[in-house]
């Protein structure tokens, strides 16, 4: 009997073997290949094992730390995205006049491609661009700058564009969760005299906790691994390498400089960084689940 059960348990394994093979091929193989490459000095077809030398090289590289710092700075977008998404989602949930139109308008930037957004903002933010013209018309001409063309503003200008573009996703995510809340609970709160602030504080926010934790971690991972297009289209890492981020540096190192070993080491570092975030997300989720 026990023997039969064991066989029964093994049978499904055989059925999932093909899909396992495909999953391994698609996901695991590239990671293992990159990990393996990160221990080699690769020069054309020649490969020489050099242990952790690539990692030592990148850790002593100033530009690597600039890229890491910039990725960390990009995390500043996360609280901004969360707060704005929350505000807009609650406002739309309250069905303010014209909320359906606003919902569409707020989602449009998210639908646009990064390349289009990058090019448009490139025009808007240049020294003779619309943004500076508005500043001048408002009597604030002294503030006009080449926003993407100078080291102390370029990254922050990119961050503004990122928030503008990515906000729509957060709003839709939170709004979807809000719309699934039992209407009777809200009705009861209103009958008890709760205003919008109290409803938000005591009903909506607790209901949004798990979605918010997911959104925060997702946004942080985005700031690490999905910013390449913005940098590539708007600044190409410049001016003066001031907007280098990890992804762009991996690209430059691997594709432009043909330093595959170093590029792989950078990629593994980025992967580990992202994995730490995923782990954090799981811990936060567990905590929240235990709380309820």
């Amino acid at each position: 009997m026990l023997y039969l059960r064991k066989r029964e348990r093994k049978a499904p394994m055989l059925f999932i073997l093909p899909s396992l093979f495909i999953v391994a091929g698609i996901f695991l193989y590239p990671v293992i290949k990159v990990l393996s490459d990160s221990f080699f000095l690769i020069n054309g077809a020649d490969r020489k094992f050099i242990g952790l030398q690539n990692y030592r090289q990148i850790f002593t590289d100033k530009l690597f730390w600039t890229a890491v710092t910039n990725n960390l700075k990009l995390f500043l977008c996360v609280p901004v995205l969360v707060v704005l998404s929350l505000l807009f989602a609650v406002a739309l949930f309250q069905r303010i006049p014209g909320w359906k139109v606003y919902r569409i308008l707020l989602l449009i930037p998210y639908i646009l491609s990064v390349s289009v957004v990058g090019i448009v903002f490139d025009y808007l933010l240049r020294e003779d661009g619309l943004f500076n013209q508005i500043l001048q018309k408002a009597g604030l001409g002294g503030l006009s700058q080449p926003w993407l063309g100078q080291t102390d503003t370029a990254l922050y200008a990119i961050m503004v564009v990122v928030v503008w573009k990515e906000l729509g996703f957060g709003i839709v995510l939170l709004l979807a969760r809000l719309l699934s809340i039992d209407e009777s609970v809200l009705e009861a709160a209103r009958l008890d005299g709760a205003g919008i602030l109290k409803i938000t504080r005591y009903i909506l926010l607790p209901e949004l906790k798990s979605v918010l934790s997911f959104y925060i971690i997702l946004s942080m991972i985005n700031m690490l691994s999905w910013m390449f297009n913005y940098v590539f289209v708007m600044t190409r890492g410049g001016p003066q390498n001031s907007t280098y981020i990890m992804e762009y540096y991996i690209y430059q190192m691997g594709i432009r400089y043909r330093q595959y070993g170093l590029s792989s080491a950078l990629a593994i570092f980025l992967l580990l960084f992202a994995m730490v975030l995923v782990f954090l997300q799981q811990q936060v989720r567990k905590c929240l689940e235990e709380e309820y």
Binding site: A45, G129, G149, Q150, P239
Partner: protein, 447 residues
């Protein structure tokens, strides 16, 4: 527990088998199909820099069908951003084009050093190779490794009407650094941009400026080849000279104040719009711009001003865009035969008519040149040119170093700071790419 172990072992076996299967079988000569037909894949770039090149390639491929009916050629155009990533992927996969377009110098020789290119001299008869011109950046170990296609230079242009409006002689553009500064000063007073060097936000303009200004302080190209390998060389007086010149132009407000807001191509077009009095363009584009802007009465080509006391001062830069045959190519000989065909006089003439760029072949006939500007550029190329210096700078030093250093100058940093940045990047490159340093050192010795 045991089951989990088994699952993990299965997984490991799968991954290992995948790794084991990853070796490609490229590199073999594949025979023609059963009807004897051969299909060549040609990856190319250039329409952006050299308008007309696409039309010429299409025409040439069509004509080649008459000569070699059993050979079909599929051309795939690459953008500037795609060109090298796609080529790199092809190398890794050992599968891709039979003919690959490459920029010259380090952008080509790096692949020679890494055995990614077939020895073209074994595929093309010596007599044919002897006609090639502009091969300096393609040579290593005493021979050319790519088939040069056409020569491209960054030439100086000037707007005669704006010169006249500023009280300058429109038939006598500046010949020296001092004259250039005087002209810029006069032009500035008329509220035009005296000298457009292109937008600098994306950094792409740095190599053009390097080509236009840097040779003036040097005596030979060897000094450029060796620069990256000699510690401290980029902060030497000679290598810092061009930063000082650009710095002076920027400080005196002779360049476009929007330089750091614009990408390279956006900035450059201020000359085409008649907003700047002098500017830079590729040779073929310059001829087209002259036509667009109203002809040679209005716009002219300047000889490169003599801006230093080096032997290379006043010389026009020049590089040859070229075709290589990858070592993994399936039809090397057929690819070589097609490249030979592209160098036949009929094709050379057609090339010039399409693009106004000089092909890399001594069978090019001066009679095909039409305007004075075309003749002027050709004469300069023939008698007074040097290779484009960026092709001697390692990619990392170029893009991380020179791009940023040039942006520093336009952002108010000193030449010393800019040069130090370039030197620091060279130092980083030396510590990261020992094979590259060795290759550059050997390359330098061959000069």
């Amino acid at each position: 527990m045991k089951n989990r172990m088994i699952s993990m072992l299965v997984m490991l076996a799968l991954v290992l088998s995948l790794i084991g299967c990853s070796g490609t079988s490229g590199g073999n000569e594949s025979p023609p199909d059963k009807d004897g037909n051969v299909k060549l894949l040609l990856w190319w770039w250039g329409e952006g820099d050299t308008p007309g090149s696409k039309a010429w390639l299409e025409e040439t491929i069509e004509k080649y069908r008459e000569v070699a009916p059993d050979v079909t050629i599929e051309m795939v155009e690459q953008t500037s951003d795609q060109l090298y990533p796609a080529w790199e992927s092809a190398i890794q996969a050992e599968s891709g084009p039979d003919i690959q377009f490459l920029w010259t110098g380090i952008w080509a020789l790096d692949y020679v050093w890494k055995n990614n290119l077939a020895d073209i001299t074994e595929l093309i008869p010596e007599e044919e190779v002897s006609h090639w011109t502009g091969t300096e950046g393609l040579e290593y170990d005493g021979k050319a490794w790519l088939s040069p296609w056409y020569q491209i230079s960054i030439v100086w242009m000037y707007n005669k009407e704006l010169f006249a409006a500023a009280g300058l002689n429109p038939d006598n553009p500046p010949d020296t650094w001092e004259e250039l500064l005087e002209a810029c000063e006069a032009l500035k007073k008329t509220d035009v941009i005296p000298l457009e060097l292109g937008g600098m936000k994306d950094g792409w303009g740095a190599p053009w400026i390097y080509a236009a200004f840097a040779p003036a302080a040097h005596d030979s190209m060897k000094e450029f080849v060796e620069a990256a390998t000699i510690p401290g060389d980029f902060i030497s007086e000679k290598h810092m000279d061009w930063f000082e010149k650009i710095h002076e132009l920027v400080e005196k407000k002779y360049t476009n104040p929007m330089t750091m807001s614009y990408d390279f191509y956006q900035g450059r077009e201020s000359f085409l719009r008649g907003e700047s009095a002098m500017g830079l363009a590729t040779n073929g584009q310059a001829i087209q711009w002259i036509e667009e802007m109203g002809g040679e009465e209005k716009v002219g080509i300047m000889n490169v001003p003599v801006m230093g006391d080096g032997k290379l001062a006043g010389k026009l830069n020049n590089q040859s865009h070229s075709f290589a045959i990858p070592s993994f190519a399936k039809h090397k000989q057929e690819a070589a035969d097609f490249l030979v065909f592209t160098h036949q006089p009929e094709q050379l003439e057609s090339w010039y008519k399409h693009t106004k760029n000089i092909p890399c072949d001594d069978r090019f006939d001066e009679e095909w040149l039409e305007t004075e500007s075309e003749k002027q550029i050709y004469q300069e190329l023939l008698t007074n040119s040097v290779p484009y210096p960026e092709i001697f700078i390692p990619a990392m030093v170029d893009q991380e170093g020179m791009y940023a250093a040039t942006q520093m100058i336009f952002s108010g940093n000193t030449p010393k700071e800019a040069a130090q940045h370039m030197e620091d990047t060279a130092e980083k490159w030396r510590s990261m790419d020992s094979a590259g340093v060795e290759n550059f050192t050997n390359w330098g010795k061959s000069y």
